[in-house]
């Protein structure tokens, strides 16, 4: 894949219409309402927001699996092809997506090695022998050496997410959209997966759009952070700065709601309020 992998979302709007139904008139939801972001090559951009903020919709548009109502997405200056077209299918190789629930993202009736090979086959990569070898290398890289014959039910949640990551990264994507990719994992495993994502980023120069409601996770993985609320980015900047010196009232209220790190910290905060 050529190009450096700069992903630009320009003035993205996504409107959902519902209704005209039994009860009342039509309702219009502006899930994403004029968002512009740039993801530099090899950068992790964290998108934080509460449920309903439009962050997942934005992620699907960035991944090219959902079309914006208006606005443009370009990868290395090239706009996304029409969804469903042959060109669009080829382009998918450059942008991959990792979802929250790995057990639903994997095919329960196919061994994980086969699923990784199938992804390569869909994009015409290598011959059969080459795919098998690449699959083995990729599984070793994500910490599942020699486990290609396993089915997803034979893996733990953390191992399943590793398999999903292997399947996404085997295509050499330039950008990976992670939508709550570690939210369903136990804390000890969550840290393993974040380390893995960071190692792979350093090695392959992938850019991550990391969508999460967990401010702690986002802080520790992101270079830059954008805070989303009701379809709009209310604040964006370097991760450390957003947390140290939040400018927008909503960011401040999010940070204030984060549980205390220790009981002593909680008491200090309670004294402050009282």
């Amino acid at each position: 894949m050529s190009g450096k992998g700069r992903l630009i979302l320009d003035d993205i709007v996504r409107v959902y219409r519902s209704g005209g139904s039994l009860f009342g008139g039509k309702t219009v939801v502006r899930a994403v309402d004029g968002v512009s972001i740039t993801l530099e090559p090899g950068e992790t951009l964290g998108i934080v927001g509460e449920s309903g903020s439009g962050k997942s919709t934005l992620g699907r548009i960035a991944a090219g699996i959902e079309a914006p109502t208006s606005g443009h997405v370009t990868l290395d200056g090239k706009p996304y092809a029409r969804i469903g077209s042959a060109a669009w299918r080829r382009e998918r190789r450059g942008v991959q997506m990792i979802f929250q629930n790995p057990s639903k993202a994997l095919d329960p009736r196919m061994a994980i090695g086969g699923q990784i090979e199938e992804a390569m086959q869909a994009h015409g990569m290598f011959d059969a022998a080459g795919r098998k070898q690449r699959m083995g290398e990729m599984l070793a890289l994500v910490g599942l050496p020699g486990m290609g014959a396993r089915f997803s039910h034979q893996l733990s949640g953390g191992q399943q997410q590793r398999a999903v990551i292997a399947r996404a990264l085997v295509l050499d994507p330039k950008v990976v959209i992670c939508d709550e990719a570690v939210s369903a994992l136990d804390v000890s495993v969550q840290a393993q997966i974040i380390n893995l994502l960071n190692d792979l980023k350093a090695r392959f120069g992938i850019g991550y759009l990391f969508i999460s409601h967990d401010l702690g996770v986002v802080r520790h993985i992101s270079d830059r952070i954008a805070v989303m609320r009701k379809g709009v980015i209310v604040e964006a900047g370097p991760a450390a700065e957003i947390f140290a010196n939040p400018q927008h009232e909503y960011t401040r209220s999010l940070l204030a709601a984060v549980p205390a790190a220790t009981p002593a910290e909680r008491r200090a905060r309670e004294r402050l309020i009282a």
């Binding site: 509460e50 449920s51 000890s188 393993q192 380390n195 702690g216 709601a257 549980p259």
Partner: protein, 355 residues
């Protein structure tokens, strides 16, 4: 008439129907005591030799990874285990009475009235085809013998007490018309309808946004202060533990590996698993440079636990001694030793080293 006043009025009629308060309670303020509980299937034990107790007005947090047996311990405590799960040994006493001596209909009477449970997914736990007000009122009709009109009136008051705006209007809403946070408030209102002596909250705030979570935690603390209920709070989030716990029991692979007061646990974690959990937290107020601390490996499957200490294969301190199962015991050399117990051969060393 407020809910509290209504409560006092109905307290007498409650007492007559109470199969528990007629017997003597062991320790005055211990609400639930679990001793040596083992639960499992024919093939594997999922909860092993767990002992816990919680007093009135106290919050005990059960912490651990998925599959460590924390939810199952709670279900067993409520007498809700059924085939293929078997309670293999152990004694559960609620307000001094052994629950295993009660018949199912007596248990059903206690459940929902004296002990109540809140689950993670409130929207799934509520009945989708009935209005939320009716669902709360039903508890009062069944357990308190109120008439439906009395119960509906009280349901509205309960909705107000859990901070739902326009409670009379919302009582007529169906669960799908309310947000996740609102539904969780409805669940809490339902659980508190009969002023339970014990409230078990199983990951009750895990699915909620942080701003909603902080409101629900605050609400639960306020309601507990008001009612003096004992609370068991199951969570995997140490931030939530820091917010709400008085005491903490850390579980790993079916066993309790450490218990301590919440301050002790955060200041002096003595089990390597607890120490690992503390180290790999990603908190919004801290920064990490480069790699994040992680506990390598995975939790062993209950049918393939390693010999000796279950945490041994993942433990950075593991040695030959760990082939023998360490007992959960009071750790000498630290303040309040009888309060702080850990199941690690090296816990005394950690305590001496000042953690």
């Amino acid at each position: 008439m407020t809910v509290l006043e209504a409560d006092r009025l109905s307290a007498d009629s409650n007492r007559r129907r109470d199969p528990i308060s007629s017997r003597g309670a062991a320790r005055a303020d211990t609400v639930l005591a679990v001793e040596g509980l083992t639960v499992g299937t024919g093939r594997a034990d999922l909860v092993i030799d767990v002992s816990l107790d919680v007093r009135a007005g106290e919050t005990l947090c059960l912490v651990g990874e998925s599959g460590c047996g924390k939810s199952l311990t709670c279900l067993a405590a409520m007498g809700l285990t059924s085939e293929p799960l078997i309670r293999k040994s152990g004694r559960i006493s609620f307000l001094g009475q052994d629950l295993s001596l009660l018949r199912e209909n007596q248990l059903a009477e206690i459940r929902g009235r004296d002990m109540a449970m809140i689950f993670q997914d409130a929207t799934a736990a509520l009945n989708p085809v009935r209005r939320v007000g009716m669902q709360i009122a039903e508890v009062l009709v069944v357990h308190r013998g109120l008439t439906w009109s009395q119960a509906m009136k009280q349901a509205v008051e309960l909705l107000a007490s859990v901070g739902i705006p326009d409670p009379a209007g919302r009582a007529n809403a169906y669960p799908h018309q309310l947000s996740g946070g609102m539904n969780q408030r409805v669940m809490i209102a339902m659980a508190l309808a009969c002023r339970p002596k014990l409230l078990i909250a199983d990951e009750a705030t895990t699915a909620l946004d942080v701003t909603t979570q902080v409101q629900i935690l605050k609400l639960m603390k306020e309601l507990q202060a008001e009612t003096g209920a004992a609370m068991i709070f199951v969570t995997h989030d140490l931030g939530v533990v820091a917010e709400i716990a008085d005491r903490v029991a850390v579980m790993y692979s079916g066993r309790v590996v450490e218990t301590a007061t919440v301050d002790d646990l955060f200041e002096r974690p003595l089990h390597p698993y607890t120490r690992g959990l503390m180290a790999c937290r990603l908190h919004a107020t801290t920064t990490s440079h480069g790699r994040i601390a992680a506990i390598e490996g995975t939790v062993p499957s209950p049918s393939k636990r390693p010999e000796g200490c279950s945490f041994r294969p993942r433990c950075p301190y593991a040695s030959d001694e760990c082939m023998a199962l360490p007992a959960l015991r009071p750790i000498a050399g630290i303040y309040g030793a009888d309060q702080h117990r850990a199941a690690c051969h090296f816990a005394e060393d950690f305590a001496r080293a000042g953690s």
